[in-house]
Symmetry: C2
Subunit: 240 residues, 2 copies
DNA sequence: CGTATTCTTGATTGGCATCAATCCAGGTGG
DNA sequence: CCACCTGGATTGATGCCAATCAAGAATACG
């Protein structure tokens, strides 16, 4: 059976997210059908995949590029809920109960499904719903980690957590790298951790002086003392 | 068809959480089966429903009483992830990826299902999995609200959010009340909001002096100026 | 009724925010 | 090719909100 996409250059079988948690281990027939109801979309840097006000009728799966989920308050404060890597999902809240926007940090391509189409497909492939539930569970687990960090940790601990978490995400999405690339600005990091840009910058400088990391340039980090960082953050993404 | 519980005084048909999002609108047969694989459990005040280290092989649905989900760090800091009201679920993370404990604030009764039993039942009743997915979606939405509050808001705004949120939860679980009962201590509130007991106490006193609330006693609040509180918290649980 | 626990209030400290200036790389146009 | 501009990053000076330390008041409990 040859996969046919209804609208785009990347087909499921050649998709960078082919091994994503939604597609992998689905049988050929299900993948074919999933492909048939998918729309390929592309967002330019700084563009939005969807915004708070939009009716949340779609589920997205990032194929390539980096994005973020953010929420804004009326007086301009911003909280970043997550950074999006290839394979990640967005728009998993069908009730439109969560108002977040998804913004592209780089050129970004994604698969989009209409909720109704997905619901219909799930009726015939219950395995699909099971997978979506597990994906949701992982998102929740990560969000609980974030709650813990925001509620309990100081600036130094927050940044240590951030670096290790980003390294972990990047490894999962793109494979192991020798240096950690940070595609976001210092402001983004600050808004993710609930601190200010200046504080982020200061802590970067401090842990660099202390030899915990190297900073070839602001967007690239070499972690020199992983265990020390893990102890600071109390975060061990791959076990102790 | 008469419902038969395998272990307890409360049957599904007389369950206080009977109208919970899991059971409601399931057909009689599914409810019967759900009942058959449920275990009724009871926890004393300050006891634990489950703890961080436990293998998370169970899903729980609170029947009566109040509880909380907490995570502790090695140096004693604590973050409360949620307060549990009748009808709420806990243990929704099958991967054991989220280490949280569930503690009882009062005498607490709950339904417990083994994941395996539930998985087997879902094979025959896909509607059940669909419901669990939606429940998980709601939990995630609430947790995202919490992230926003922890990351962006000051002590005053946090407490305003807390009061309105608790009122909303209490209304949903127990029906409308004229006064808001707070079954948790000031320390619990502090650990939920990422601030200290003293700060909680001070803000309570302040908004009481300002006439936003009345405090007949520390555990009961009468909200006098709901709209003002909503504006402080930027939180409108039932729309504007 | 005494003891423990929780809550509240006061005094002081400190970590991070705020305000402000400078640095630096990349892009643009003369 | 270079002067200029711009947005992001860094560093410094100062101030403030909430943490910390400490003590007293209120309430629950054996």
């Amino acid at each position: 059976m040859r996969p046919i996409s209804n609208s785009g250059e990347i087909l499921c079988h050649s998709c960078p997210a082919r091994k994503s948690r939604l597609c992998s281990a689905l049988d050929e027939k299900a993948i074919y059908e999933l492909d048939a109801i998918a729309t390929r979309i592309e967002i330019k840097p700084h563009g939005y995949l969807f915004e708070e006000e939009d009716p949340s009728d779609y589920v997205y799966n990032i194929s390539t590029g980096i994005g973020l989920l953010e929420r804004l308050s009326s007086d301009g404060r911003r909280q970043i809920m997550a950074f999006l890597f290839p394979g990640d999902f967005a728009g998993l809240l069908p009730d439109a109960i969560a108002s977040v926007s998804a913004k592209a940090l780089s050129r970004l391509t994604a698969c989009r499904w209409h909720i109704r189409d997905l619901d219909a497909l799930m009726e015939r492939h219950p395995e699909l719903e099971h997978r979506l539930r597990r994906i949701g569970g992982r998102v929740l687990a990560t969000t609980l980690d974030q709650v813990f960090v925001l509620g309990c940790k100081n600036a130094r601990e927050k940044l240590a957590y951030f670096l290790l978490h980003m390294e972990h995400r990047q490894k999962a999405a793109l494979g192991p790298r020798e240096t950690l690339h940070l595609p976001m600005t210092r402001v983004d990091i600050a808004d993710y951790l609930g601190i200010t840009v200046e504080t982020v910058s200061r802590v970067f400088s401090k842990i660099k002086r202390e030899g915990l990391i190297e900073l070839p340039d602001p967007n690239n980090v070499v972690i020199k003392q992983r265990e020390h960082l893990q102890d600071i953050a109390e975060y061990y993404p791959d076990g102790h």
